[in-house]
């Protein structure tokens, strides 16, 4: 491993430690804390702390008062839906974001470019939950095209597994569209800028002079060189998307980890809130970590530092 990779690993370990500790100390720092009845405050803090850490290692996150089940089990039940939602949204926004950014740069100043810019920048100004509410009203109720809540139709027997998949995808469309549309502006703008920079380079002119087709130049010469800054950004946006699920899942009553956050807040179910927070925070950190490692690998300049 390279020096910078080791520094990264160490700093991530420190951050995870800080987050775990914050999760422990936060409820105890609050005056007349909401957990006063839940924490075993007769024991010394240090003992509580070591207990907390050992329990964490065993996957014991406490008892959810509102769901009346272990927090770990509640989270595990919700996890698949969030993974599905985040995964789908990420794939769509990476593909659509990079393509639209590249097209925009290629057609700079033309109608396509201006249209995309206006559309995607206005979309980025919508809070995800507000866009979600508009989708529910117009596409859910008025046009009746999509289900308005949940992740699948309950109490229906499908004759084929294909029907189940279709039903799940049908429910997934609006939440995924909301998440994608509200976060796509960032990657679109970066790709566009990055491409415009690259397109001004001499080797693009050379490629044109050689008589290569526009599509070939864009794919092999321009996009490839514009990718590096985009990769770090993808991690950043996966983080944004994961955070965004808190709001989007709430609006669509999509039964994932994000909805547990708002459920826990309104039910004052603090163990569940803390568990969901840990999941979300660690997921974002994991994504950032992977991106950092890829970046160290890809960019020779980082290695030498």
């Amino acid at each position: 491993m390279h020096m910078s990779a080791i520094t990264k690993v160490v700093s991530y370990i420190i951050i995870i430690f800080i987050i775990l500790s914050l999760n422990f100390f936060l409820p105890r720092m609050m005056p007349a804390g909401p957990l006063s009845g839940l924490t075993s405050s007769d024991k010394p803090v240090l003992e509580q702390y070591t207990n907390y850490m050992t329990n964490l290692m065993h996957g014991d996150l406490g008892w959810s008062t509102s769901k009346n089940a272990p927090v770990w089990d509640v989270l595990m039940r919700s996890l698949k839906w969030t993974l599905l939602l985040v995964g789908t949204s990420t794939v769509i926004y990476v593909i659509v974001g990079i393509l639209s950014g590249a097209v925009s740069a290629w057609k700079k100043g033309k109608k396509t470019d201006v249209g995309l810019l206006v559309l995607l920048i206005s979309m980025a100004s919508f809070p995800p939950f507000f866009l979600g509410m508009l989708f529910i009203i117009f596409l859910g109720w008025k046009l009746d095209l999509f289900p308005r809540f949940g992740a699948q139709t309950l109490f229906i027997d499908y004759s084929t597994p294909f029907g189940v998949v279709l039903d799940i995808l049908h429910h997934l469309t609006l939440p995924a569209a909301t998440l994608t549309l509200t976060s796509i502006g960032v990657i679109y703008l970066l790709t566009r800028n990055s491409m415009l920079n690259v397109l001004g380079e001499d080797y693009i002119l050379t490629a044109r002079a050689k008589g290569l087709s526009e599509w070939y130049i864009m794919r092999r010469h321009a996009l490839k060189n514009a990718m590096l800054p985009i990769i770090t950004l993808v991690a950043l946006i996966v983080g944004l998307v994961i955070t965004g699920t808190i709001f989007v899942e709430t609006v669509f009553a999509y039964p994932g980890v994000g909805m547990l956050v708002s459920d826990a807040i309104s039910a004052h179910d603090y163990p569940l809130l803390q568990g969901a927070f840990l999941f979300i925070a660690l997921a974002i950190l994991a994504v950032n970590f992977i991106a950092d490692m890829i970046y160290v690998h890809l960019d020779p300049r980082v290695k030498q530092e």
Partner: protein
Amino acid sequence: MIEDIIVFLKKYKSNKLGLVGLGILIFFVIAAIFAPYIAPYDPGHRYKSTEHPNSAHLLGTNHVGQDIVSELIYGTRVSLFITLFASIAAAFIGTFIGLIAGYFKRLDFFLMRIVDLFLTIPRLPLIIIIAAFMRPSIWNLIFVFALFEWSITARIIRSEVLTFKNRPYVDATRMFGAGDFHILGRHILPNVVPLVVVQLVLVSRYIILAESGLSFIGLGDPTAKSWGMMLHDAFEYPTIFISDIWMWWMLPAGLCIVFTILSLTFIGYALEELVNPRLRRVTTL
């Protein structure tokens, strides 16, 4: 200084999107400042609940009978107040840390590790959980946002300070016996102010978005309702989507947020172009 501002304004005037953005923002700022004079009713007073728009209540009333127009106008106040104070506090901390880290080599490494930490930590989830453990109030929201949104500013200011601190004029000032803080305050700070302003706009854009989200999931101050809080109330109302109520309750509050964010985006782009001419080539909107 005043001449600088005039020159700056003249340049800013040539940016159409920037002007549109500024216009929208000024509209909301006026609504916020003069809320008691503009609002037709006291936003806390209860009339008949869920009334449709009529001559007395232009946008009807909400679930507990509060006049929605007045709620919107006072909501502007709350939303902008939180955004303004939190982003100014964050800009202040960020600029201070950036100046110190960039100028004093010995503190640089230590401070930048802290900045890295704040940049890597998932900020919004952390803000949410801290806010959930505190009593919901405007000041607590301002506090958590200021606490977590200064790091990007610090990093940007630091790298800018690094380019200034070894310029000949700074060396000359040092030779004349000027102290470190004199140099920082009088000769370096004025040069980074434009960048601080750009950051201020970008951070406030983020904060108003995040604040509306926090209020929406129920972490807002119920005694001083922001736009996000109005959306929270509307969303909790059982028949919000099937009756027409959403049109005068949910839609105006949401659009206010959208337009504020849009205006800050426009202002941000206009300022960035002025401050950083290198960008002009690529980010022409």
